[in-house]
Amino acid sequence: MHNKSLSELSAALHNSEISSVELTQHYLDRINQHNGTLNAFITVTEERALEQAKVADKLLAENKAGVLTGIPLAHKDIFCTKGVRTSCASKMLDKFIAPYDATVVEKIDQAGMVTLGKTNMDEFAMGSSNETSWYGPVKNPWDTDRVPGGSSGGSAAAMAARLAPVATGTDTGGSIRQPSSLCNLTGLKPTYGRVSRYGMIAFASSLDQAGPMANSAEDAAWLMNVMSGFDEKDSTSVDRDVPDYTANLNDSLEGLTIGLPKEYFGEGLDPRVAATVEAAIKTYEKMGATLKEITLPNTGLAVPTYYVVAPAECSSNLSRMDGVRFGHRAEDPKDLMDLYTRSRGEGFGEEVKRRIMIGTYALSAGYYDAYYLKAQQCRRLISNDFQEAFKEVDVIMGPTATNPAFRFGEKTDDPVAMYLEDIYTINTNLAGLPGMSIPAGFVEGLPVGLQIIGNYFDEARLLNIGHRYQQETDWHQRIPDAFK
């Protein structure tokens, strides 16, 4: 049952081959069986899930069900879920019961889907290995000595081990795509503004975007249909019609022009990853696409630009965690300043503190022009590179990450080494473009992802391109032995 696509599950539910309660119980059992090993979930909402499943079964029986009604799902623990702990994997929010639902949660509930629980992640989505979580690291189902990637590492591990049929993630610098690459998933970061950020705990507001993490492009398309759309509660939400993302999945790729940025295949890329990605791109050539070498000359600026913009925005966003209205409060504060500094000092982990301090410094008097303004200008240069490229090509392809999953502790001593993990994904966030990672093969038993970047609002095209590849290959159907 846990190897079926969303449309197969939908058919099984609609044909009464299985009830939503049975399906939900099947996944809850799998979570109970494997979560001890993987640490993929922070909170399992068993009771709530079975209640939602009962409601779904009633809708199914009355023929009032939608396509995804009764299908279980896991939410990254960054989305506020009313009445359920929403921790963002931080001690700061360990006891935070969200008083309202994120728009994404609300839309998914309205579609009749069943929430299994909240998945582990890097604290406040700051990290690329899921090692910064206050609840401990998540293990990669493909090799439990290795990281699942981050920050959406819990969703990625849960999906790879088939503990949920589909999951949500968020991506500020690669946090959907890099774990998707390391765990053999299809993960889509939509165009900035496509999916509402309301109730999604903010990290870097001009970069954050939610998206699906799925077993196939087709499944991702189904969830995109539910997640996307204008929301007046998000001031940066884009008011634009949502297409049916499943409608054009089978379109021909004949005549597609694929740009290959030479900066994505240079120094720093594991040659085995390069070979895997190049083989995937060759498959596209066989399917009728034309390849063209392009250049994104300012690629090297992406990581430094990000580490000004993202910390600056996070230092501002996280100032709301002050120990006064919600979240962790230090014991016996002697005065207000002591309350602020100790609550925050105790509540935040190391990486979060580092980024808050970098952002505070970059925004402090006298440094604004040298750091923040300069970074915003570099951001424009990076974005201009993409727009130049899209004059000649339809989509851009390259690796999602420089390497397959690495071992725990391998990059934790040097924050900068960890930051470079996102070198191929960060610039799409800076430009606000949609990007997707799909399974492209394996290196010594570890998954490798192919990244596909499109122009603004080209999500349907990306999903079509992913889907056609998945008709030709079966990488995306592979499951680690221990979780079959």
């Binding site: 409060r329 504060p333 005065d335 207000l336 000092g345 808050i356 970059a362 924050p415």
Partner: protein
Amino acid sequence: MSLDKHDVEKIAHLARLSIQEDDIPHYARDLNNILNLVDQLSAADTNGILPMAHPLDAHQRLRPDTVTEINHREAFQAIAPKTEAGVYLVPKVIE
């Protein structure tokens, strides 16, 4: 430039973060490494380049100035560390 112990203390104060004395050297080291990475930006020619605040250069949406939210005080204060009679309690600020 390079941050020293005093700079780290000042930044931590501005950020309202208590940090342990023993941890200052490694914060200084890490922050300097990050700033070295960031300093690569100074080599970029950004003359005449407009700063980009929003990927789609969208403008802030306006809405009519009408009440859209109802009072959620009880729900919001239910998750607060310390409240009394509808207000949030903090240590005494004014003597």
